[in-house]
């Protein structure tokens, strides 16, 4: 968790893809790794059970492939990050090296958790993600840039990648971690609280 926000207007680097719809947070970080009081060390357990499961079948998860080590942009399909609200999921991805996610759609709490960590999740359509994944898998050394200002992901191919205006301006203004701004309105917080009968006790 970073206390001080910085402007996030673009993310550049290599790409790793994790294919599949409805990849839930139990898959991103299995619950047994949540038995912790810090987020340290979660990166190595990202997708742990999926990785092990594939290994047992003689296959390799993209997070285990040598050519994708050091990637900083993740390509995914639909409803990525559904399920539990655990921030451990984006924390694990971030600690593995991911700084931005490009996909067809995201679960809401996951998306919000990523905002709080300064990780933009941008949306592309189904045809676009197919092209993007194919290009990234064909050339794992290619360098890509997610430009949040222009709402574009570009590498060997390029596609429009959008984000709702609210969170987008949080990234572009460096205010993706809202705590400081929330703290600057404490007097108003107290007066809203005082006007709520269940808080004030004055029904």
């Amino acid at each position: 968790m970073t206390a001080a926000s910085t402007i996030v207007s673009s993310v550049s680097g290599r790409v790793v893809s994790v294919r599949g719809n409805d990849i839930d947070t139990d898959r991103i970080i299995p619950a047994r790794f949540l038995r912790c009081v810090t987020f340290d060390g979660l990166g190595e357990h990202a997708f742990e059970d999926d990785r092990r499961g594939l290994k047992a079948k003689g296959q390799t998860h993209s997070f285990d492939e040598a050519k994708y080590q050091g990637a900083s942009i993740l390509f995914v399909n639909k409803n990525f990050g559904c399920g539990s609200s655990r921030e451990h999921a984006p924390q694990a991805l971030m600690r593995w090296g991911i700084q931005a996610v490009v996909g067809e759609s995201f679960a809401e709490i996951f998306f919000g958790n990523c905002v709080s960590l300064g990780i933009p999740c941008v949306t592309v359509d189904e045809a676009a993600i197919a092209k993007l994944m194919a290009a990234a898998e064909a050339n794992s050394t290619a360098s890509w840039t997610l430009d949040l200002e222009a709402q574009k992901i570009s590498g060997p191919v390029s596609e429009t990648a959008t984000m709702p205006e609210g969170p987008r301006s949080q990234f572009l203004s460096g205010k993706w971690n809202p705590m400081s701004e929330l703290l600057s309105h404490l007097a108003e917080v107290d007066s809203v609280g005082a006007a709520l009968p269940y808080v004030s006790g004055r029904w």
């Binding site: 139990d26 639909k78 921030e87 809401e108 709490i109 919000g112 929330l182 269940y198």
Partner: protein, 493 residues
């Protein structure tokens, strides 16, 4: 109430402002508006959170953050914590220190953090410990018209009371601890109207599984769900909680039911509910937050409750369910973009296209969780299994959702009924709903479970399998050793 410009007849010509009820408002927008503190520079809203529930898994890093920044908990009297996810449910294993040193460290962290920051804490010796979404309502903490947040996605449960209740991540737990507010966007609202009357053996769990099946696991992204219609009005509060609990499995971060007489009757006399002369005023306030009769919605969906059968999941998402008398769907019946996931689900579950779900053998039966671990769930299951026996080779667990549920169950003699039938009766906690405590599936075991998630590996074994269903359907699986239509196994209705 909205401000309208009016004309005062007593002072001819004078313009004045008076408050009139703004009709056409739904509960979501009324409650949201009353909690807005400011518009942030990003365009998001700073929203006051009226009740902050805290548990041991998603809070230690948040407490560490505010400690590092030298901050205090802004409204400790609006913050309530308990321990549920990591706590063993076998009485012998609850002795301190816990055998699992990581779990012990987390337990010590929540004890220390709540003591240091002056936060209310319900530990295992308090008589009030339990799953956070079970204890909030039973203590009367959860009330209509509130905003409620917790670092747990099933916070949607509390929407049963007509509150805006939703799950958050750890960074937001820190935001709320420090400011009692968080940054939020406004959701759209979809009204889901469930008409008719449920048949015998059909429960709230079946209604929500049917809704998720119809609208999809991401159909609710960007929406709050308002549940309404005859089926919902006839539900008890505990049934409404089961329904709202699984809103998030349909992608909706919030699900709610408008407060009514059932809500007020449930709350009356609970420890944290308004007392004495405040009670009537509170009820009046609660009525005022309900959706207006002419409220507008961004979308409306209707469902016929009378035609619903008991549901069972067959796959690896809560949307992959079918009526118990149905057959596992074929890959080709899905859109092409979905087919890979369907193949993956069939392979993981080891089920065949066209196979009847009835008759699939189960190894484990789990009755409990924040979805179905309340007293009425346990009572209904006990009623049907009374005098019967758990099938040989099946491990069956009943886990009360809280210490209060446990006491009520004991007073009604439920543990004896379950034990006589061959079930294990446990101490309160999340138990086998997720893999953070000693209750886990082993290897490829398949479990009939009353919890809410059938994700791969969810119940503790990376290759373990989950079939979600209602408590009575789980009871039928326990006594037959396989997925069975509870309507045929028991005399219901």
């Amino acid at each position: 109430m909205a401000r309208r410009v009016g004309f005062n007849p007593a002072f001819t010509g004078a313009i004045f402002y008076f408050d009139v009820p703004a009709m056409k408002q739904n509960l979501y927008n009324k409650v949201f508006d009353r909690h807005v503190v400011s518009r942030l520079s990003s365009g998001q809203y700073q929203v006051f959170i009226g009740l902050h529930l805290v548990h041991e898994v998603t809070s230690p890093q948040a407490f560490a953050l505010i400690r590092e920044r030298g901050l205090k908990v802004r409204f400790p009297n609006r913050t309530f914590a308990t321990v549920d996810h990591i706590i063993p449910t076998d009485a012998r294993e609850r002795k301190r220190p816990l055998l699992d040193s990581l779990a012990e460290e987390m337990l010590q962290a929540i004890e220390k953090n709540t003591a240091e920051f002056g936060v209310n804490y319900f530990g295992t010796d308090s008589g009030r410990q339990g799953i956070v979404h079970v204890i909030g309502p039973e203590l009367g903490l959860t009330q209509p018209g509130m905003t409620i947040a917790c670092g747990d996605s099933h916070t949607s449960t509390h929407g049963a009371f007509g509150s805006l209740a939703f799950g958050i991540g750890t960074s937001q737990v820190a935001d709320i601890l420090a400011t009692q507010t968080m940054s939020l966007g406004r959701l759209k609202v979809r009204k889901i109207q469930v008409n008719g009357r449920l048949g015998p053996g059909v429960y709230a769990k079946d209604v929500i599984l049917a809704i998720i099946r119809k609208l999809g696991v991401n159909g609710g992204v960007g929406y709050a769900y308002e549940y309404t219609g005859d089926v919902i009005s006839n539900f008890t509060m505990e049934e409404r909680m089961t329904l709202c609990n699984m809103s998030i499995e349909g992608g909706a971060r919030i699900g709610y039911v408008n407060p009514d007489e059932t809500t007020f009757a449930y709350l009356k006399g609970r420890p944290h509910a308004p007392q004495g002369s405040d009670w009537d005023k509170a009820v009046e306030y609660w009525r005022s937050v309900a959706s207006d009769s002419d409220a507008t919605f961004d979308d409306v969906v209707t469902l016929d409750g009378s035609s619903l059968a008991p549901h069972v999941t067959w796959g690896i998402t809560p949307g992959q369910s079918l009526p118990v008398d149905g057959a596992v769907p074929s890959v080709s019946s899905f859109q092409e973009s979905e087919q890979q996931l369907i193949r993956e689900a069939l392979e993981y579950m080891d089920l065949k296209e066209g196979q009847k779900i009835e008759g699939v053998p189960v190894d484990v039966v789990f009755i409990g969780s924040c979805t179905n671990g309340r007293i009425s769930d346990l009572e209904e299951a006990a009623r049907v299994v009374k005098g019967m026996k758990v099938a040989s080779g099946v491990k069956a667990l009943v886990v009360p959702g809280s210490e209060q549920v446990e006491r009520e169950a004991e007073a009604k003699g439920l543990p004896e009924v379950f034990r006589a039938a061959g079930f294990e009766w446990r101490e309160p906690g999340c138990s086998m709903c997720l893999a953070m405590n000693p209750d886990k599936l082993k290897d490829r075991q398949i479990s009939a479970s009353t919890s809410n998630r059938n994700f791969k590996g969810r119940q503790g074994s990376p290759s373990g399998r989950t079939l979600l269903m209602s408590p009575v359907m789980a009871a039928a699986a326990a006594v037959t050793g396989k997925v069975a239509d509870a309507r045929k196994v028991f005399r219901l209705g």
